[in-house]
């Protein structure tokens, strides 16, 4: 891009020199005419084309319509010179609309550049896709972009741009991207040594994981690991420190990624994350004078607080955070006040304990009068989400007072919020009616239809409210100017319930009529129509004012508005029917209660604001509709509960049914596992690339399993990741003590310790998943040999004790028994040694001298579980040489233990099955 274009510089200078708009236009028209002619004549060299197209672009940027240069731009793209290509691509991305026909012409050129050996060309092509990204491009090119992202030969620049280009294509055309298929390979890039690459791919994953949390589940531990390396270990290239803060943008992305998942139950990750968050909070205690440093630090801090709130609102971390936030909301710096209020609103929406926030109610209310509307909005959101039964009168009162002076832009939202809070936390009918009517009269034009509909619904459904509402609305109507929505509510309520107060002085039918009708002339046709309906109801209940009412109908029979005229005619006819006629009465039956329905107000508020990709569970949908998630504690019943607002659509994405990884199959996989079920150490898995070995010890209900993973190759395994899946989380916990390093050097071995605790009887051993990059992305998934008998410890019993217990436990279901074929050893005898090895390997104490038959075995033991306590277990094994069969009997105080142990002990003793189907069955 070195060569400056003199003609362009002159053109720009001329335009800047133009004193008035007309001169500028004149200059531009002249230039465009000249360029059009040059293009028409053809025969331009690359430099000339570039120069003219650049002038066209500049004209376009100024805001002029341009209709030339498209073809020349397409030509420039195919140039081999960078500067010409760059201008060509710039023109394509700026001048061409996403659906332009010209874009079809460039798809092939872009593909050519994507596949070029020159990485600079790859990058230009990626920029174009990332900036325009039409559907056609997505369909034709996403495979190529993905290839550039994962190819080991791609330069870092190409990979960064490919990741973000893919993100753009996914956001625009999600259906084109085979996310599931690509997920693991993409996640593995999070381990890349280049932080720029990690940042881009994390942005990509953040978007993909919102829609496909399961497929990207492993990104959770990678994010924790990376944060730990950045924040705690200070492991990053110096150039990625921004004013001494390690790559704050990446930290923010990672902290957000963690908020898209339910909190992890892996203790190692929990502790690690705890330390990370604590460190981030501590870092902020050293204020600096540098604006950039502070901003970067706070960017990370606020995200960390959000994550801490997401994980557990009752944690000490959140307490620390609450103290910080309190300081922030009265900060001198506007940005900090803004963010403090914003984050506090998040906390208020999530916590069960509003106490800490309520302490600052005064400060927050003052923020409603901040000099900055952005801050005022945040204060409004916060007041909305911190409102509960105890402070609702105060907060709603403040909001009402503020409403009268609030910015016009804020009022509609305020009205909705006040209406919702009033309804939700009303403690007396009187308060509800007073407040909502004051709202209607104060807010005037900013009251959406939903608000007064809702008032009518509630009054109709709440009998105790009706007379009082009628009186209050009547008083409001008496004031000289009342807003139209108040007239509507008044018309409706007096029509239905005016008769309830008609006998009291000052509320007589004629007074009601006069007050209401005096408003009619200031109202729009729909309101007048509503008033006509009120009058026909009154004809029914207030015969004394019938002449006046009929008079109104008569006059309205001649108005031009069709709806009004029709109503008037019908009502007129209805009113003049003979008195004994029942039609009028039937028509004017009292309105039945409305069926329970969701508040239209909430829908309105949510609709107003929803437009974001962010699907974090708590995400404020748009500008702060922090709907308080009803907490268990606060659920005091409120008076007005006519309509079910139990609609908690705040989606919880905790997907407990974690998908089980597909197990790696292989001829020896089962054999290795079965052997390790009754031995402590040995090989669990081996192939040409890696070997996995096990060493284990158990004590009571806990155990420690050392997993040794060796790289057998002469190349390193990168993006090396280990993960555990337990299917019975309440019964068995298993977790790594630390996260594995992300690279496994050639011909080396690492040791990963798994802590195990047996809480209850379980059946399914945890699954170990080892994944890595070696050419392609690969994953090995095998079950760890952690079975219930690992928690069995032998006990010595004498014959009397043994038989007593044996009898006490008794037969099925606490007995599990089976007869199975055995094979004899080389000499044709029962393999007694193996038999003893298996039985004692499973933890039994072999008891001698109880069974007189020397081939038979008797054993006893106790299974230790942390939650369900100890479970006794007795064994008897009776092999028969002649029949080549053996009988196993297990008796246990837990039937689950009996059946499980019986299967485990029998497995290695049974003869190789003749048919494949028999193997796992008993």
């Amino acid at each position: 891009m070195a060569t400056n274009m003199r003609g362009l510089t002159q053109f720009i200078a001329d335009i800047r020199g133009a004193r008035v708009r007309e001169l500028e236009e004149k200059r531009i028209n002249k230039e465009m005419a000249n360029i059009r002619k040059r293009f028409k004549d053809g025969n331009l060299d690359g430099y000339q084309k570039k120069k003219y197209v650049a002038k066209v672009i500049f004209t376009y940027i100024l805001g002029y319509k341009v209709d030339i240069g498209h073809m020349e731009a397409v030509n420039l793209i195919s140039s081999s010179k960078y500067s010409e290509k760059q201008i060509g691509y710039l023109a394509v991305t700026l001048l061409m609309h996403e659906n332009s026909d010209f874009l079809r012409l460039v798809v092939n050129s872009i593909r050519k550049d994507l596949n070029d050996n020159n990485e600079i060309h790859n990058c230009l092509a990626l920029h174009a896709i990332a900036n325009v990204g039409s559907r056609e491009m997505a369909e034709a090119l996403s495979e190529d972009v993905h290839r550039l992202l994962i190819s080991p030969t791609s330069e870092n620049f190409v990979r960064k741009k490919a990741a973000l280009t893919l993100l753009r294509l996914y956001r625009k055309h999600p259906d084109v991207i085979p996310v599931q298929e690509w997920a693991l390979r993409i996640v593995s890039i999070m381990d890349d040594p280049d932080l720029g690459v990690v940042l881009c791919v994390t942005s990509l994953i953040l978007a993909l994981a919102q829609d496909h949390p399961e497929a990207f589940a492993i990104s959770y531990q990678k994010a924790v690991d990376r944060l730990n390396r950045l924040v705690v270990e200070h492991e990053y290239a110096a150039t990625y420190a921004y004013y001494k803060v390690p790559i704050p943008w990446l930290q923010v992305k990672l902290l957000r990624l963690l908020q898209t998942y339910p909190p992890s139950d892996d203790p190692t990750l929990q502790v690690m994350l705890q330390v990370v968050l604590q460190t981030i909070m501590n870092n902020c205690n050293e204020p600096s004078r540098n604006v950039q440093h502070n901003n970067a630090q706070h960017a990370v801090l606020f995200e960390a607080i959000n994550l801490a709130i997401h994980i557990d609102t009752n944690s000490p971390l959140v307490n620390t955070a609450a103290v910080l936030l309190a300081r922030f909301i009265s900060s001198k710096e506007t940005n900090v006040r803004y963010l403090g209020l914003d984050t506090m609103a998040h906390l208020a929406a999530r916590t069960d304990n509003l106490g800490a926030i309520k302490k600052h109610q005064g400060t927050i209310i003052i923020s409603l009068r901040d000099k900055d509307i952005s801050v005022r909005r945040r204060a409004l959101d916060l007041l909305y989400s911190m409102c509960d039964v105890d402070n609702s009168e105060l907060i709603v009162g403040e909001l009402l007072r503020y409403l009268k002076v609030a910015d016009y832009g804020l009022r509609e939202e305020m009205v909705l919020k006040i209406a919702i809070l009033t309804e939700k936390y009303a403690s007396t009918y009187k308060w509800y009616v007073d407040t909502i009517l004051e709202l209607l009269s104060a807010a005037g034009d900013h009251v959406g239809e939903e608000v007064w509909y809702r008032v009518v619904q509630i009054v109709t459904n709440t009998e105790d409210l009706q007379a009082y509402a009628a009186k209050v609305v009547f008083e409001y109507l008496k004031s000289p100017s009342s807003h139209e929505s108040l007239v509507k509510v008044g018309g409706y309520i007096l029509g239905e319930y005016g008769h309830l107060i008609a006998n009291e002085p000052g509320y007589s039918p004629i007074e009601q009529f006069q007050v209401l009708h005096s408003k009619s002339q200031f109202c729009m046709a729909p309101t007048r129509a509503l008033l006509l309906s009120t009058y026909i109801k009154w004809v029914n209940v207030f015969p004394e004012i019938k002449p006046q009412l009929v008079n109104v109908f008569e006059r309205y029979r001649h108005v031009l508005d069709v709806d009004l005229q029709q109503r008037a005619c019908e009502f007129y006819a209805l009113a003049l029917r003979p008195e004994e006629d029942e039609l009028l009465q039937n028509v004017c039956e009292e309105i039945p209660p409305f069926p329970p329905r969701e508040s239209a107000l909430l829908n309105r508020l949510n609709k107003k604001n929803a437009e974001s990709e962010d699907k974090r569970p708590w995400a404020h949908s748009g500008n702060g509709t922090l709907e308080r998630q009803p907490s268990k504690m606060m659920k005091k019943p409120t008076l007005i509960d006519t309509n079910g607002h139990g609609s908690n659509s705040t989606g919880d994405i905790s997907q407990d049914i974690a998908s089980i990884p597909r197990l790696t199959a292989g001829p020896n996989v089962d054999r290795w596992f079965d052997k390790l079920a009754y031995t402590a150490d040995g090989v669990l898995y081996e192939d040409v690339q890696i070997q996995i070995g096990i060493k284990s010890r158990y004590q009571g209900p806990v155990g420690q399993v050392a997993v040794y993973i060796g790289n057998k190759m002469s190349a390193p395994l990168t993006s090396f990741t280990t993960a555990l899946h337990t299917e019975e989380n309440e019964a068995l916990s298993a977790s790594f003590v630390k996260i594995a390093p992300s690279t496994l050097a050639p011909r080396t071995q690492i040791q990963q310790i798994v802590q195990v605790e047996c809480k209850k009887v379980f059946r399914k051993p945890p699954i170990l998943v080892v994944s890595f990059l070696a050419g392609a992305h690969q994953a090995i998934a095998v079950r760890l040999p952690i079975v219930i008998s690992k928690f069995l410890e032998g006990v010595k019993l004498g014959p009397t004790d043994f038989f007593e217990r044996w009898k006490l436990i008794g037969g099925p279901p606490r007995e599990a028994q089976s007869i199975f074929p055995i094979s004899l050893d080389a000499t044709g005898h029962i393999d007694l040694a193996k038999q003893r090895q298996v039985v004692s390997g499973h933890g039994f104490q072999i008891l001698e001298g109880i069974d007189p038959n020397p081939s038979n075995l008797v054993g006893a033991g106790i299974v230790h579980t942390a939650v369900d306590g100890k479970v006794g277990c007795l064994l008897r094994l009776e092999p028969n040489k002649e029949a080549k069969l053996s009988r196993i009997t297990i008796r246990s105080t837990s039937e689950d233990v009996a059946s499980e142990v019986q299967k485990l002990v029998q497995k290695p003793l049974a003869a190789e099955p003749s048919g494949p189907g028999e193997k796992r069955t008993t």
């Binding site: 891009m1 510089t9 720009i12 993100l167 956001r171 942005s203 970067a296 960017a299 509307i373």
Partner: protein, 116 residues
């Protein structure tokens, strides 16, 4: 585009530098902006995006411009608008921040400058 630009300008320009934040709501989004003398740099982000991260991204971008043009001024940006786009493509892409190391970006720009 021109209309959008005008709308954002009207929203941001009158705001007070000292007493008002660098964030302002715009339709269903937020504008994060920073003022350098007479120049405003504005980014439109989602309502839930991290404001400060974008505020500093602006500063990073300005620092890159400043180094590249050696004490950047408005004229540099106008006369070299196509280079500004090229620089933009190195710092932001697809609406996300792409590279945050000034050294990496500047080295890359230097490499591109040398190309024909």
């Amino acid at each position: 585009m021109v209309r959008l630009r005008g709308e954002v300008h009207r929203l941001v320009a009158p705001r007070d530098q000292k007493y008002q934040s660098n964030f302002v709501e715009f339709r269903n989004h937020k504008i994060v902006y920073r003022r350098y003398a007479g120049l405003f740099f504005c980014i439109c982000v989602d309502a839930n995006d991290n404001e400060l991260a974008y505020l500093e991204a602006i500063h990073l971008f300005v620092e890159v411009l400043d180094s590249f043009f050696d004490n950047v001024c408005e004229l540099d940006l106008v006369f070299n608008f196509y280079k500004v786009y090229a620089i933009l493509d190195e710092v932001f892409l697809a609406g996300e921040i792409e590279e945050t190391s000034k050294d990496v970006v500047l080295a890359r720009l230097e490499q591109l400058e040398k190309l024909e």
